[in-house]
Amino acid sequence: MRRKIIPALILAFGIVNFSGPLLAHHGTAAFDTDKKVTLKGTVTEWFWSNPHCLLQFDVKGDNGQVVHWIGETQNPVTMTNGGWSKTSFKVGEEITVALFPVKNGLPLGRIITVVLPDGKMLDALKGTSGVRDYK
């Protein structure tokens, strides 16, 4: 048991430190990087474009009201390095998105991960250094 806990603690420490520099650079000025939000929604558009790709999706709240969200990722070259592609999402797919929301409360955010209907997870930081991302 102890053998499993120690590596887990080291990994957790590493993840915390890895994500630390996100707070430092410009792009995060608009984002609340202390607040990770997880949303289940339906893809309405995946726009493979520069300077950032945009994933648009609808999220149905408990009251039945639909909120339209937009999440940004890095540019296509960086996302390709991380295993994403122009065909990563199809309109109508059910997805689970983890993102850092913008500070002003609008339904916009910087994508961290997306889980596809088959359970496969796409990591938005995978193609980046984890330090100089989202530029």
Partner: protein
């Protein structure tokens, strides 16, 4: 017993030789003479050349050792720029980086922003660099021609005055078998281009020296020195032995472009609304 002892001694004696042979097999071959051609990428990963906070060796991070030696005019020019990156970054809705209007980055900013996969081609007359970002190229003459001279309105080539260029006028000579030294002048001034993404300025008086040293067959080091007496009180090193590694020659480099239409859509849907109060959100 004696036989086993002899075999052990032979193996012990042979071990260092075998070990060094194994290491030698893993070492890249030596650099070819006067040849930097190939498809190169940042050796420390694709993001190492992004240089979002400013030039690699002197990022704009408020550290005392990274303060640039501005002239009074240079400091004024820097303060007039509203960068999206670096220690003086503004929100996405309030910056004026020419990059985001898809203006040409110009040289030497090509080396200081999104320096990614770079294809270098050469023949006996010139070296050509094909940059991935903005699908941009530079020609560097190695045919022995002189570097033009900076004059009012541009550069003097022979008896003729030619216009400033976004990517300047470059000539190069081999300093030794594996080091190409490139001199570049005649770039656009501070009203058209920035030095880096942190908004540092350059002027039409800029002279740039690059040293590309092929360390071995598979590795290249890229250094850049900035000399701009109008903006900086002394020359300084902006990129110091930046490491590049050789890629598979069959590699098909992906394009990375700046599209005004895509930029406009991005700003409308995301950049602008994420910068201001919620009441400024545009209709979608």
């Amino acid at each position: 017993m004696l036989k086993r002892f002899r075999i052990s001694i032979i193996l012990l004696m042979a071990a260092p030789i075998l070990s060094s042979l194994a290491v030698a097999q893993n070492q890249p071959p030596p650099a070819p003479r006067h040849d930097i051609s190939g498809t190169w990428e940042p050796a420390n990963g694709p993001q190492d050349g992004v240089q979002a906070d400013g030039v690699k060796a002197m990022p704009n991070d408020n550290k005392p050792q990274h303060q640039l030696p501005y002239t009074p005019y240079g400091l004024q020019a820097f303060k007039s720029h509203h960068a999206l990156e670096g220690a003086q970054a503004v929100l996405p809705g309030f910056f004026d980086d020419p990059r985001d209007k898809c203006e040409p980055l110009g040289f030497p900013r090509m080396n200081f922003y999104n320096l990614r996969e770079t294809q270098i081609l050469q023949n006996e007359y010139k070296v050509v660099m094909l940059y991935q970002y903005a699908t941009t190229w530079r020609v560097i003459w190695t045919d022995g021609r002189e570097l033009p001279k900076i004059v009012d309105g541009g550069v003097a080539v022979g008896g003729e005055v030619k216009e400033p260029r976004y990517y300047g006028y470059s000539v190069a000579k081999w300093a030794d078998d594996t080091t190409l030294v490139i001199q570049t002048i005649g770039m656009m001034g501070e009203d058209r281009v920035w030095l880096d993404t942190a908004g540092r300025p350059i002027s039409d008086q800029l002279r740039v020296e690059e040293r590309l040293h092929r360390v071995d067959h598979d590795h290249l080091e890229w250094s850049v020195t900035i000399d701009d007496p109008k903006i900086y009180t002394k020359p300084w090193v902006a990129m110091d032995k930046f490491p590049m590694k050789l890629e598979d020659p069959h590699r098909d480099v992906m394009e990375q472009y700046c599209s005004p239409a895509e930029m406009e859509r991005y700003n409308k849907l995301f950049g602008d609304p994420s910068s201001g109060p919620a009441s400024h959100a545009p209709a979608r």
